[in-house]
């Protein structure tokens, strides 16, 4: 017969730290690590009183892969493929943040055409990320059909990205000073067609889902994140814009060539799940318009800088690259000690900040609404754990 220590019977470290002993009338529930609505291995310990949540505590680290430590043992180019694995949904934004930081260290000039290609591909990737969030969120809320439509459209965008990057999810496409492959005519024509096609699909999404009465009841006035709470936790991206703050790095501190395009930063003032939902739906349209503008003004020229150092050995110093990802501000801080290996790499992932406010938001709400809130935050677990 197995013998357990008294301690072990009371659960693992997190459970014991969460609450010592049972309380009258409350129930402690583990949501995850294998829960259909956490999309990955996120675990949340909940203390329930009936259907109401008294307390919630996210437990992280199930997919911790030491991405930051890995940066200290690999050379600069060798760390590139890691970026696609941090956030598999918006891999190109992570690619971009890293090359941006290293380019600053190396004082590398990026050719015009490469900048345009980066904008086009990154926005296309943002659309695929939002489409997946859209499908998965509605799946959490109990609607099965939308994910099929979302995936069918996402598939087209991924086919396009596959033409130039060779992969479908964990892209490793940007290189220091440019991109690894030039656009092909097939990609350009396909993207133009895709933009037109998705514009016909978005009204269908609106009819089917956004205007739907059942969805409205699940998201309207649920999970209010006031601006000050969002600021306290460092929330960025669509979640912050859903709280009525027009903050977007593409507009506020334009990196690359984003200042050349004409686009809106959608924001809604209601601070609820519906506002965050609508921000993302509007953002897809804005991304489409950025792609169309970029393709129309795509210059000719090389996609890598003319003079590339053979071995990448940035001088001593540090640099910070920040871009607007599908979930918020992605920041990468690279410190160089003059060797071919970075001294330290710090990754700032938006999902980590976005998740941390969940404990506060979920106090006193219904368990079913917690699922709706989690989905509306658009969390990507590997990005939280890194």
């Amino acid at each position: 017969m197995l013998h357990y220590a008294q301690e072990q019977l009371q659960g693992d470290y997190y459970t014991r730290a969460f609450q010592a002993g049972a309380q009258e009338d409350t129930l402690i529930l583990n949501m995850g690590p294998q829960h259909p609505s956490t999309h990955g291995v996120l675990r949340i310990i909940l203390e329930l009183h009936g259907e109401y949540i008294l307390r919630a505590e996210p437990v992280l680290g199930y997919v911790h892969r030491m991405q930051e430590k890995m940066g200290e043992v690999k050379t600069y180019p060798q760390y590139l493929p890691n970026m696609g694995r941090v956030d598999y949904l918006h891999a190109l934004a992570w690619n971009w943040a890293y090359v941006l930081a290293v380019e600053e260290l190396l004082q590398l000039e990026v050719p015009e055409r490469a900048e345009y290609i980066r904008v086009i591909t990154c926005e296309l990737n943002r659309i695929t990320s939002h489409l997946l969030w859209w499908g998965a969120y509605l799946l959490d809320l109990g609607a099965f059909t939308p994910i099929m439509y979302g995936f069918a459209d996402r598939e087209r965008a991924m086919d396009l990205l596959q033409i130039i990057t060779g992969s479908r999810l964990t892209y490793c496409y940007y290189s220091f000073g440019g991109v690894t492959a030039d656009l092909t005519p097939q990609f350009i024509d396909g993207t133009k067609e895709f933009c037109k096609y998705l514009r016909t699909r978005l009204p269908m999404y609106k009819d089917l889902v956004t205007d739907n009465m059942i969805l409205r009841h699940r998201v309207d006035d649920i999970g209010i994140i006031p601006v000050d709470m969002a600021r306290r936790y460092g929330v960025t991206g669509p979640n912050l814009r859903g709280s009525g703050v027009e903050h977007d790095l593409r507009r506020n501190t334009p990196y690359s060539i984003y200042d050349r395009f004409d686009f809106e930063i959608p924001a809604y003032e209601e601070c609820d799940a519906l506002a965050r939902y609508l921000v993302r739906m509007d953002e897809m349209e804005e991304s489409l318009s950025i792609i169309e503008q970029a393709i129309d003004s795509l210059p000719e020229g090389p996609v890598t800088p003319p003079k590339m150092p053979k071995v990448i050995k940035p001088p001593k110093g540090e640099a910070y690259g920040a871009v607007e990802g599908a979930r918020g501000v992605i920041g990468i801080h690279v410190i160089s000690d003059g060797t071919a290996t970075p001294y330290r790499i710090k990754l700032r992932s938006p999902s980590f900040s976005n998740l941390s406010l969940f404990a506060e938001v979920s106090e006193g709400i219904l368990l079913a609404d917690a699922v709706s809130i989690l989905g509306s935050l658009d969390l990507v677990i590997p990005e939280i754990d890194r």
Binding site: K74, P77, Q78, Y79, L80, P81, N82, R85, T145, Y149, A152, D159, Q162, I163, T165, G166, S167, T170, C172, S175, T180, M204, D207, L208, V209, D211, N212, M213, I214, R216, D220, G244, E246, E264, I265, P266, A267, Y268, E269, E270, D272, L274, A275, L278
Partner: protein, 180 residues
């Protein structure tokens, strides 16, 4: 631009349910868009980037373009490339020895020419278990001796099946293509 979320009246809400049904009904009569693997296959595999393959020389398809510089193995983040190199001493060509005969008297006898060491690629081993398909090796190769395969239906039962000997694969592929 900070907007307000549009509000919905109950009547609009009820109408939305019928609108949704119309969308679903419309899609019900649309043609199927899924691919029924294995009876059908997707048509965009040419752009798929699978594991790497060696590229043969144009004039001699049995040897690869590789110049054994080892840069790919060094660039690989996951250390999955291993080059097995055999060193062979080659006799200097006889023509070089015959030449000094003409001016034997004046010039002091030349030192015997150094034996050259030729490096031959015995095997090019790729451990595909570790490969992250990042493409660093293909990008660093100075003579374009590596390319991506489009092998997307790769499957196996053991880890050992995914350790490839690329030189042999390249030769086999050529033999198969020349005989068939």
């Amino acid at each position: 631009m900070i907007k307000k979320t549009p509000k919905q009246s109950t009547l609009q809400g009820i109408k939305s349910l019928f609108v949704g049904l119309r969308v679903t009904g419309h899609n019900f009569v649309m043609p199927q868009i899924t691919t029924h693997y294995p009876r059908q296959e997707v048509d965009n595999l040419v752009t798929y980037r699978g594991h790497i393959e060696l590229v043969p020389k144009e004039d001699d398809p049995m040897t690869s373009k590789c110049i054994l510089c080892g840069q790919c193995a060094k660039a690989c983040p996951s250390n999955c490339i291993e080059l097995v190199i055999r060193k062979e001493e080659v006799e200097p060509p006889p023509a070089a020895e015959a030449q000094p005969d003409a001016d034997k008297e004046e010039a002091p006898p030349k030192p015997a020419p150094k034996k050259k060491v030729k490096r031959i690629l015995e095997a090019f081993i790729l451990d595909y278990n570790l490969c992250s398909l990042c493409g660093q090796c293909v990008q660093t190769c100075p003579v374009d001796s590596l390319e991506f395969s489009t092998n997307s239906y790769l499957a196996g039962f053991t880890r050992e099946e995914f350790v490839f000997e690329l030189l042999e694969r390249m030769r086999k592929k050529y033999k198969a293509s020349s005989s068939g």
